[in-house]
Symmetry: C2
Subunit: 341 residues, 2 copies
């Protein structure tokens, strides 16, 4: 299915949309405006006047109303990026369907199946490809943004059997242009994965912060790096945590049941036999697997009629796309794929 090739020599011309229209200028949207600005025409909008003023003051092209931003996006065939909280999407999608109904469209929300359904319902003619850059900090807002935020980060780009690879290439090209690793994934597979490695860690941090507080002043004064690191993301604004976790309910409940089961078994073993052997050994091995996850990748070329299946196989195996080109044979991707042996 893949053939090994040497690393690409020289730079490949980036595949990018004609322009970029970023709706929402918080941490992710604001960072995207900064990161993409040198690569293609970028303009943006925020519902917040102070945010628009701050972004303008930093030299960025910001429009004052959603309608003017979308009209310009329609004129220039720009890729529209929904970069505001997922709870605002329904309203935005209705306006997009009215002003720029066939637009190139993506979003950066941390859930993908639910957004895909909303787009199908409310803006069905858009050329939509869901995406999710796995980058962030506990900080938020325009001022917290950085053009380096996406460098080296995984950026999920969604594919389904009936997707257009040309629409996908717009979004994947943007992610590559700002320095991310492009991970193709089905929307539902994405949601299951991030429930485990992003949403659940947020809930565990929130729970642990309370357990520490219940220990009183002595406990908090003794807390060192293990507690500080494990509760860091509990400092994220509660409404942002709720927006991402509550919209991924089913997958998150599965992940919560998994961790409740592991901790419950450990609690029972500690109480009955005094041993934590099982959780200690299995957890240590799992952490080792995580630390070694990026070892043993080889560069392969992905092209041909079953391109979507091949790209999804790359993502499912823990690989990522590192370059894209469009030629006589259609779209070609270079990807890092785990060694077979």
């Amino acid at each position: 299915m893949q053939q090994a090739v040497p690393p690409s020599s020289g730079s490949t011309p980036a595949l990018l949309p004609p322009a970029l229209c970023v709706l929402g200028l918080g941490l992710i949207g604001g960072s995207l405006v900064r990161a993409a600005g040198p690569r293609l025409p970028v303009f943006g909008w925020s519902p917040s006047e102070p945010t628009r003023s701050a972004a303008k003051a930093d030299g960025h092209d910001v429009l004052d109303t959603l309608e003017t931003a979308l009209t310009r996006a329609d004129d220039r065939d720009a890729l529209i990026v929904l970069a505001s909280p997922v709870t605002t999407f329904r309203g935005l999608l209705r306006t997009i369907d009215a002003v720029a109904p066939a637009a190139r469209l993506t979003d950066v929300a941390s859930v993908k199946a639910a957004v895909q359904e909303e787009v199908t319902e409310l803006a069905p003619r858009t050329r939509y490809i869901g995406s999710h850059p796995m980058a962030g900090t506990a900080a938020s807002g325009w001022a917290a943004g950085s053009p380096e935020l996406f460098a080296g980060a995984a950026w999920v780009t969604c594919l389904t059997d009936d997707a257009s690879v040309d629409d996908w290439a717009d979004v994947a090209g943007l992610a590559l242009a700002v320095g991310s690793r492009v991970v193709p994934a089905e929307p539902h597979a994405h949601d299951l994965a991030v429930a485990r490695i992003s949403h659940l860690p947020h809930l565990m941090a929130l729970a642990l912060a309370q357990v520490g507080e219940h220990g009183g002043s002595l406990a908090l004064s003794l807390a060192a790096s293990s507690f500080a690191d494990a509760t860091r993301v509990a400092g994220t604004r509660p409404e942002l945590i709720r927006a991402m976790c509550e919209t991924n309910r089913d997958a998150l409940i599965d992940a919560m049941d998994d961790v409740l089961g592991i901790l419950g078994v450990a609690r029972g073993s500690l109480a009955s036999t005094g041993s934590l052997f099982k959780i200690a050994e299995a957890g240590y091995l799992a952490r080792g697997l995580f630390e070694q996850r990026a070892n043993g990748l080889q560069l392969v070329t992905v092209q041909g009629a079953d391109l979507i299946d091949q790209l999804l196989a790359v993502g499912a195996a823990g690989g990522h796309v590192s370059a894209l080109a469009r030629g006589a044979a259609g779209l070609t991707a270079e990807a890092w794929y785990p060694d077979e042996d």
Copy 2:
């Protein structure tokens, strides 16, 4: 109970034992040898020949047998520090009782009530004060040690109603000399606190690492800082995690039940109403309290007949001792204590 004083002007002569005998030269013991060496005579021992050779090669005074180390400790009235895994303490205490039965003695284990009981049983004549420097990394062994490991860390020094404040001052003076904040605490109060802010975070990291692994290659490839930070301490050697967690069983079970309850309620709320309001708000407030814990401290002087009670009150309130002096009025401590208002 306390009177405010201005910060001490000039340096106070440190209260230190005549010499230091460190048994066990891993991360903590090895760091202590390096950090204390410039302040007082220090010698050590390790059961591992390669470790002894490595420490000698780095210029430290290391004896080849436990008996010669303890004989020298007895001759020089050295403070003996048990810095090996807590599972080795019973054997060490029997030998101490035979060779240096009235020695000054402390340990650096992460549980305190159980060690206190072992000392009372096996080396009852020693001048024992339990202690626990809240410093560490996921690394271990002599090579991982650093003279800076204790700088700025909380160092618990145990007190009970019948303790000798002079014995306590040896250990507290050592902790101050290597740059730590000295936190006086009763052994049981220490164990309850560290179950919540150290032992439980290790178990949660071990559980989360497995939940991530269960998500497969896609999940691990998408894991970013929230997962990496939350599982970091799962990379600690399993036998070290077991040694500290299993010996603090009762307190750890309480902490586990607390976190299982919080996560269980959140799971129920998410499944029934779809809301994570409660855990999101309470966790955010708790993290904020942790981040602000060191604000609003004032410097006070602690001295007099009820010194032990006053020192324990400082620790219980989230304060710490920053300087010690011995004068005509006996032992005097300067301490940072939370503002009353």
